[in-house]
């Protein structure tokens, strides 16, 4: 049997392959050779074969048959074998395979090996892919190595300990004694990994956090030495002494100082020093400054220091380096909630970043801009954001549009401005707005009564230009259907009224119905709009004709609508005006935390379980009505519903006061419906006996599942009587 080819030979061969198929063939051939070599238990060349297997694994070919071979290599005495064996274990094995547990004993032996590099390999493997069982077994060994004086092993043991803690958090206590003098090490590698270990422990356990707070002075001292020590060639990176360690320490200080006055006090000076003395011409200096700023913002620092930090971020924003600008925007986003005013000062720079070419920076700037919008700057900011919406990538448009809608809703200075802004968004990014924006917009337009004429006119003009953006078309057709009479009569106060005839309007709406660009939903909107115009326009014949044509449309939804409208014309013409009259103002249910009185309605149906309903509503000032004394009949299989109603007909329930608190009185009255005694009518009277107005009154009716058929319960909400009654 000839010796298996060397790794580099294999690589060379594979590189000559001109097609994917050729490469696959070569690899399969080699895999077959490797497999037979494994079967022959060839000890000499096993390392070579596994190395080749790892290469093929990187290219994406299956290599699982080498897993056991890796274990054999680990058990070998040769360093070469161990090295490639451990690498193979880390790349091919993980805790999901049962074989990995076989490694435990090998690793244990290697952790006690005489050669430090073998110990290092074992620590590395355990720290990368050790499962919880392995960690539990070997934690003691790791803890021993954490106390050794060999810095090479000590730093690896520290990171291995981090992995152990992640896998088995209960073992954290075990490593506590070993951490005692970790920070007095001189070796920077050990210091670095020790800080990582301490950080992990502090993040996981509040007890550890308070325990380690006493280390703050020591950390501050180490940091000071790093800054003041002058040039040290071994740790120097671009003129700064061990920036990685500085950053790590700053991060740990951040965790220790958060929420704690004393620790924050102790770090104030050193933070100010780092912030003012760090050289910013190279990336390393900026990395340290960035970390310092984040630390200052997180701990309880004095206000002067905070202002310094935000100004540093502001300087970062003006930096030519894109990376710096990116991290500055990211950190400003984090701090905008807490230090809003300070960040506002940099608003113009942030808005300029919207025009940057870099996609990542643009996204960050957009998020930050939305966070900075308030009542004072809404007009200016909106101009910038709309301009941004025009020119940004399609990926952004949906988020930007939603953000603009939200901001406009919160801070709109006037209704006209609000509607103009929405129109602008619909016309520039119409196809990217979210689906729920159409009903929201319709509701907004309905509520701005004085703007109806202006709105419908603008929407009509927009439709004339472009019918491809569905949300815009839907809103427009809805509005034309509602306010077509205003459009035709030319009564617009805000703008120059346009001359439009009924036929022109119907042309546009019919155009939408036949256009290929319209989705079925849009077609539904326009058909309904045409129908509504039958009560507002005089050209009835044309509308009747359109409606009857669509009675045979292929689209089932359209067909149904057309047939029903046809029926309206033919048999129910007397109802048509009432059905198609103007929509009333729709109240949006705004769920604010306070001020919701939820009244639970379930006493009439004694079969219910009280608790289920209360669970449904989540109990915000829920006032359950006390059960009445209606006797329960055993539930019969089919006619449960009738039985329930049947109960009611047996007794008459007296009226009751369900709620009487803070001036709000809610009364229930029960009676049988007159034509049909099987129907119970429950009337709820809510009375406001105070002199002030009660706002945000939300009516929620909880209905048991049994009674969810519409035939069973008709809730007739008479708003008017609520508003007038005092």
């Amino acid at each position: 049997m000839p010796a298996p080819i060397r790794l580099r030979e294999l690589i060379r061969t594979i590189r000559t392959a001109r097609t994917q198929a050729e490469e696959r063939e070569m690899i399969q051939k080699e895999c077959a050779a490797i497999r037979s070599s494994f079967r022959e238990e060839d000890n000499t060349y096993r390392c070579r074969n596994v190395a080749k297997l790892l290469y093929m694994h990187m290219l994406g070919y299956p290599a699982h048959f080498g897993q056991l071979e890796c274990l054999k290599l680990i058990a070998s005495q040769k360093f070469t074998d161990k090295r490639i064996g451990y690498l193979g274990a880390m790349l091919l094995l993980d805790e999901r395979q049962d074989v990995h547990l076989l490694m435990t004993n090998c690793i244990k032996n290697d952790l006690n090996h005489s050669t430090q590099y073998v110990q290092g390999l074992a620590l590395c493997t355990l720290g990368c892919m050790g499962s919880s069982e392995m960690c539990r077994d070997l934690a003691g060994e790791v803890e021993k190595l954490l106390k050794t004086s060999n810095s090479y092993l000590r730093k690896k043991a520290a990171l291995c300990a981090v992995h152990v803690i992640r896998k088995v958090p209960e073992l954290m206590e075990m490593f506590l004694p070993a951490t005692k003098n970790l920070l007095s090490e001189k070796n920077h590698g050990v210091l670095h990994t020790s800080v990582v270990l301490l950080t992990e422990m502090c993040e996981r356990s509040p007890d550890m956090l308070s325990h380690f707070r006493k280390l703050v002075p020591q950390l501050v001292r180490i940091l000071k030495n790093l800054i003041m020590s002058g040039y040290s060639p071994e740790h120097d990176v671009s003129g700064i002494s061990d920036p990685f360690l500085q950053v790590r320490i700053l991060r740990l200080l951040r965790i220790l100082g958060k929420g704690d006055d004393d620790s924050s006090e102790a770090m104030n000076d050193i933070l100010a020093q780092v912030a003012t003395n760090t050289e910013t011409s190279k990336n390393v200096g900026n990395a340290i400054l960035y970390e310092t700023v984040l630390t200052i913002m997180d701990i309880k620092s004095e206000s002067g220091l905070r202002v310094l930090a935000i100004n540093i971020l502001g300087r970062f924003l003006l930096n030519n380096d894109k990376n710096i600008r990116y991290v500055a925007l990211t950190s400003l986003l984090k701090t905008v909630q807490t230090d809003h005013n300070a960040v506002q000062r940099h608003r113009s720079t942030i808005v300029d970043c919207l025009k940057d070419l870099d996609v990542s920076i643009k996204r960050r700037a957009m998020e930050l801009s939305f966070a900075l919008v308030n009542g004072n700057n809404i007009r200016g900011m909106m101009k910038e954001l709309l301009y941004f919406l025009d020119s940004c990538d399609p990926d952004f448009k949906a988020d930007c549009a939603s953000g603009i809608f939200l901001a406009a809703e919160k801070y709109a200075p006037s209704k006209r401005w609000h509607i103009d802004t929405i129109m602008r968004v619909l016309t520039t990014a119409g196809s990217y707005v979210r689906d729920d924006s159409v009903p929201n917009l319709i509701q907004l337009i309905t509520n701005s009564v004085e703007m109806h004429a202006y709105t419908v006119q603008r929407l009509y003009k927009a439709l004339l230009d472009d019918i491809s953006q569905q949300p815009l078309v839907q809103v427009a057709s809805w509005c034309i259907g509602e306010y077509g009479d205003l459009l035709v009569s030319g009564q617009c106060e805000e703008e120059e009224p346009i001359q439009v005839s009924e036929d022109e309007v119907l042309d546009v709406l019919e155009g939408l119905l036949v256009s290929n660009l319209s989705t079925p939903v849009t077609r539904g909107y326009s058909l309904t709009a045409i129908m509504k115009l039958s009560t507002r326009f005089s050209s009835l014949n044309r509308i009747k004709k359109v409606v009857s044509i669509y009675g045979s449309s292929i689209d089932v939804e359209l067909q149904q609508r057309a047939v029903e409208y046809n029926a309206l014309f033919k048999k129910y013409d007397h109802m048509r005006p009432a059905l198609l009259e103007r929509m009333p103002i729709m109240e949006k249910t705004i769920f604010s935390g306070d001020g919701i009185f939820t009244v639970c309605l379930w006493s009439v149906f004694p079969v219910l379980q009280a608790n289920d309903l209360l669970d449904l509503l989540g109990g915000n000032d829920v006032v359950p009505i006390i059960q009445t004394t209606v006797p329960t009949k055993p539930a019969s299989a089919g006619g449960e519903l009738l039985d329930l109603l049947g109960d009611l007909s047996l007794t008459v329930i007296p009226p009751m006061t369900a709620y009487n608190k803070n001036g709000l009185i809610i009364e229930f009255t029960f009676e049988r419906s007159n034509p049909n005694p099987n129907i119970a009518v429950i009337t709820i009277h809510a009375t406001n006996s105070t002199e002030a107005d009660m706002t945000e009154f939300v009516f929620q009716a909880a209905v048991p599942k049994v009674c969810s058929f519409p035939s069973c319960i008709l809730i007739n909400l008479l708003f008017m009587s609520w508003c007038i009654g005092t």
Partner: protein, 156 residues
């Protein structure tokens, strides 16, 4: 924590892949393809940070990459790592490779994949930064290579 380290060339061919979190084999290849797709689209004058792709997933992940001649070095990290710090780390790693291979080029990485892994092992362990001192790393790698050579052995 560093979730993954990927090195691939301008055509997307992987030169080194190291995942510090479990992913199935086909998932790994998919991640490489997706990362290459995201990173190769970038201009040279934009920032080196990308929000992670959907596969390596979650909102906490970022791709931090550097483009050196024909190779992309991509580190996929979560929010516990400093972005600028990782950029410096990539630089340290590349300079270490340069010292170990004497003017490193793509071919060195191609033919000595195992050696690159060993060097990386001295820099990052279990997804965390182990050592950042270039000379220290090079010295340790050198000693281990010498140990390998001293054994009477078949060369890999």
């Amino acid at each position: 924590m560093i979730k993954a380290i990927l090195i691939f060339n301008n055509h997307g061919k992987p030169r080194l892949i190291r995942f510090y979190q479990y992913f199935a084999e086909d998932m790994q290849q998919q991640i490489i393809r997706e990362t290459f797709h995201l990173v190769s689209k970038r201009d040279d004058n934009v920032c080196n940070f990308l929000e992670g792709g959907s596969l390596i997933g979650g909102s906490d992940y970022k791709l931090i990459y550097r483009h050196y001649a024909t190779l992309y070095f991509v580190f996929c990290v979560d929010s516990s790592e400093s972005e600028l710090g990782i950029l410096d780390l990539i630089q340290v790693f590349v300079e270490t490779l340069d010292k170990c291979f004497e003017n490193v080029c793509e071919l060195d990485l191609i033919f000595h994949m195992d050696k690159v892994h060993y060097i990386l092992q001295e820099v990052v362990m279990g997804g965390m930064v182990l050592e950042t001192n270039m000379n220290e790393i090079v010295a340790q790698v050198e000693l281990q290579n010498r140990m390998e050579k001293s054994e009477v052995n078949q060369v890999i």
